[in-house]
Amino acid sequence: MNYSISVQQDDFDTAAEYQAMRDSGPGTGAIATFTGLVRDSGDLQGVNGLFLEHYPGMTEQVIESLIAEAAGRWDVRKARVVHRVGELALCDQIVFVGVCSAHRGDAFAACAFIMDALKTSAPFWKKELSGSSEHWVEQKASDLARHPGVLKP
């Protein structure tokens, strides 16, 4: 299993990410990808940007362990996670998760698992910006329900 993780301010290129997934050999039959975008309503309405903070060093370790867990549960030939930090504008790309596998069920399951677990376990914090107000986003009960416990003290 091959994987790679980037935490960066810069935007990413999903076309290049997809191409890297395709270049994973003739045993790959399925590629599942997920991209998260800054949308106009979250805890606030009229969101026009986000500020994303993270815990350098720990973030990468947590994501690495989530990918290893996914690879232990499903057939994962290659996994890729890119997560942006800093100031982002409306409609900007935030996060990319890509998984390739022999089979579609494994690709979907591993991709959704990594994304769900990232939301409850990786040390990122999102602040919504709306006009002159700003608001630290609160963790959703629905997110914890999908992947409980990793972060609960």
Partner: protein
């Protein structure tokens, strides 16, 4: 001996802003846990009191998720932060 008897405490996101503190270097007592350090910091009062308030505070020790009873010692990096909200 000063470097040998301290640890680093880091705060992130809403806690970092409300405590107006990114990091602290503190002397460390023997046989301490992350939860005891949290309680000690909360005794500073004001914004610090929220560390043991109603809102959950997450703990990492040396960049690994930890619990209140996780032992800590000299040279450790202890972090306190709100539940994460990335992705």
């Amino acid at each position: 001996m000063s470097e040998d008897h301290t640890l680093t405490v880091r705060f992130f996101a809403r806690l970092r802003e409300e405590l107006n503190t990114e990091s602290l270097t503190l002397p460390i007592q023997p046989d301490t846990t992350a939860g005891q350090l949290l309680t000690e910091l909360a005794r500073r009062g004001g914004a610090w009191a929220q560390l043991t308030g109603a809102q959950p505070v997450m703990i990492a020790v040396n960049q690994t998720m930890a619990k209140p009873d996780t032992p800590i010692g000299p040279g450790d990096e202890v972090a306190f932060f709100p539940p994460v909200t990335g992705g």
